[in-house]
């Protein structure tokens, strides 16, 4: 919305006349679009191909012989559903808790009534410039007893200084008169945060929340680092095993040979890529709406 309004401010002739530069630019962008879109098409047709035939190569526009076997193999793998469930759970729980926790700290950090505010500020900022590194962090996770539990996905991501700064910058733009009025009515700081600041900061919370959610959905390194139990594998980790390690889905031992014969590891991994991308594609309109509403520059431009 924000972007749309601003675009029209740019001086434009009523009728767009295309110069040679424009035509070149349009063509260049078209090539760029094809370069970005074709890889997805390539994977989709690969996933719908008969593995034996696909193995010969040359399948670039449409499958030569169609087959749904790769999908059947992936969908009959119980580990896919476990991984999907874990990813869904960590994304939901992780995003909500992290957003509320970070917004609450941001509220306190933005307030001029906060005692020792500069101390808190530098205590936060310092962690952005220096860290202990991976191994001390790993050993901490082990010693806290978070290793190989579901909570290792949630608790270490509960708070982010970067997100706190973005949210508190937004809070600075909220008129303090609202807060003062509520205070006179006897509201506590926590009530003001919950009842006034959270509802008023929906755009920035949507943007920050989206990025937290995307991070949860896409992460596989933490699964590699902090878990061994199969029931804690995430979707991306499941994919990584299929794609990079070419490990076969656990279902392959129970499936009839006529289905398995139509597949090769590559087509199976393509099918899994498509399956894992569908939620992102379905939610893409929402993601875009968040990106191109005022939330996009929340924290820097928007005040």
């Amino acid at each position: 919305m924000y972007a749309e309004k601003r675009w029209d401010l740019r001086p434009q002739k009523k009728k767009i006349r295309l110069t040679a530069f424009d035509i070149l630019l349009y063509a260049l962008m078209f090539v760029f679009l094809i370069l970005l879109l074709y890889p997805f098409w390539f994977v989709v047709i690969g996933s719908l191909s008969d593995g034996r035939d696909y193995n010969a190569g040359g399948v670039f526009l449409l499958p030569r012989s169609w087959s749904l076997s790769s999908y059947k193999v992936v969908f009959s793998d119980p580990e896919l559903y476990v991984a999907f469930g874990v990813t869904l759970a960590r994304t939901a729980v992780g995003t909500v808790t992290s957003l509320l926790f970070t917004a609450m700290v941001a509220y306190a950090m933005h307030s001029k009534d906060l005692i020792a505010k500069p101390v808190f500020y530098w205590f936060n900022i310092f962690t952005m410039f220096f860290g202990g590194g991976l191994i001390p962090f790993f050993l901490l996770i082990v010693n806290l007893g978070l290793y190989d539990t579901f909570w290792v996905y949630v608790i270490p991501g509960l708070y982010s200084v970067y997100n706190m700064i973005i949210i508190s910058t937004f809070y600075h733009g909220i008129s303090s008169e609202l807060r003062e009025a509520a205070m006179i009515d006897g509201a506590s700081e926590f009530t003001v945060f919950l009842r006034i600041y959270i509802p008023l900061s929906k755009p920035v919370l949507a943007t920050v929340g989206m990025w937290i959610a995307v991070g949860h959905w896409n992460s596989y390194y933490d699964t590699m680092l902090y878990t061994v139990d199969k029931s804690l594998h995430t979707l991306q980790y499941y994919l990584m095993r299929l794609i990079l390690l070419s490990s076969a889905p656990s279902s392959t031992s129970n499936l009839p040979p006529e289905i398995l014969n139509d597949t090769i590891p590559v087509t199976i991994s393509y099918a899994s890529i498509v399956i894992a991308s569908i939620p992102v594609i379905m939610l893409y309109p929402v993601i875009q709406k968040i990106c191109f509403s005022q939330g996009i520059t929340a924290g820097s431009v928007k005040g």
Partner: protein, 313 residues
């Protein structure tokens, strides 16, 4: 009246205590998850490799000085790892820093809004995919038997009819890694610049037009100077990350054949530290990385302040 005055002077009011507690939640989190690991770097100066009880080593272990650091600097992999880490990052800085700016400028020049929005929304899509998915797709295109890269190169006459290129070879590792990051990140990174360009006062363009400036001149004389402060900040941030690589990114493009060209500090620390359990050794490697990053940030910030008068802090 008096009562109210006294209340105002009181420092620890009920609401201030509440605020303090809220801020303390954040501080407590940072103590546990940021400051405790910082003290954990003491492990780099002790011998805790393959130890089971690491807390014991941390508290009562013998100091070994810089032995772990020396071991890293003398390791036969050290030269490769440092070359790859720095080389890849510098390469990506050279490609990935200007690309989004150029892309934002080009997108801004598209006059049909529908086309402009289509290009933009497709360009940012890969940002929302994981490295496994996006990298996996790119790897499938490069596959020797089933991929499309080789047939295209043959059709263009770049390689002979019966030749083929194995993109998994070590000499292509840097190209794979840097080009994939370009494709994945350019669209999204350009959005920030687009927003900045949109914030430029349109009257500036109007005035330049009256003075006879063409489209290219408008870009060099108005658009680029207007977004210059932003460019400084993002350049500074990228320089401080010269020893940082995304493990999730590199790991996807690493294979058994190309490790000589794809092993970076991030992947090395994982292999030696987590899989190999060389805790002290890899803590030293990580500390080396953090310190270099800190020095790079401080010095580039200093130089930037001297030259442009702008810095991060």
């Amino acid at each position: 009246m008096d009562k109210i005055v006294i209340k105002k002077k009181k420092v620890w009011t009920k609401n201030r205590i509440q605020l303090f507690i809220m801020a303390m939640f954040g501080a407590a989190f940072l103590i546990v998850f940021a400051y405790v690991p910082m003290f954990g770097v003491a492990l780099a100066f002790k011998d805790g490799d393959k130890e089971l009880n690491i807390l014991d080593v941390l508290i009562s272990g013998k100091w070994v000085g810089f032995a772990n650091f020396e071991r890293f600097f003398n390791d036969y992999n050290f030269k490769n790892i440092l070359t790859n880490t720095l080389g890849l990052n510098i390469l990506m800085l050279f490609i990935n820093f200007p690309a989004p700016i150029v892309f934002a400028l080009l997108i801004h020049e598209i006059r049909h809004r529908a086309y402009q929005r289509t290009v933009q929304s497709i360009a940012i899509f890969p940002t929302f995919l994981s490295w496994v998915v996006f990298g996996g797709i790119l790897l499938s295109l490069l596959d020797m038997n089933m991929g499309i890269a080789n047939p295209v190169l043959r059709a263009l006459g770049i390689i002979g009819k019966d030749d083929f290129i194995n993109f998994g070879e070590a000499k292509f590792a840097w190209a794979n890694i840097s080009i994939s990051s370009l494709l994945k990140g350019t669209g999204w990174s350009s959005v920030i610049y687009t927003a900045a360009i949109l914030g430029i006062d349109p009257e500036l363009y109007e005035a330049a037009k009256l003075d006879g400036a063409g489209r290219f001149r408008q870009i060099t004389a108005i658009t680029i100077p207007s977004i210059a402060p932003m460019l400084t900040v993002s350049l500074l941030l990228s320089i401080s990350g010269l020893l940082n690589n995304s493990f999730e990114h590199i790991n996807v493009f690493q294979n058994a054949v190309n490790t000589a060209k794809s092993e970076v500090i991030a992947t090395y620390v994982y292999k030696q530290g987590i899989s190999g359990r060389l805790y002290s050794y890899t803590t030293a490697v990580g500390l080396f990385q953090s310190l270099v990053a800190l020095i790079l940030l401080a010095s580039s910030n200093f130089i930037s302040k001297k030259i442009t008068g702008r810095g991060l802090y």
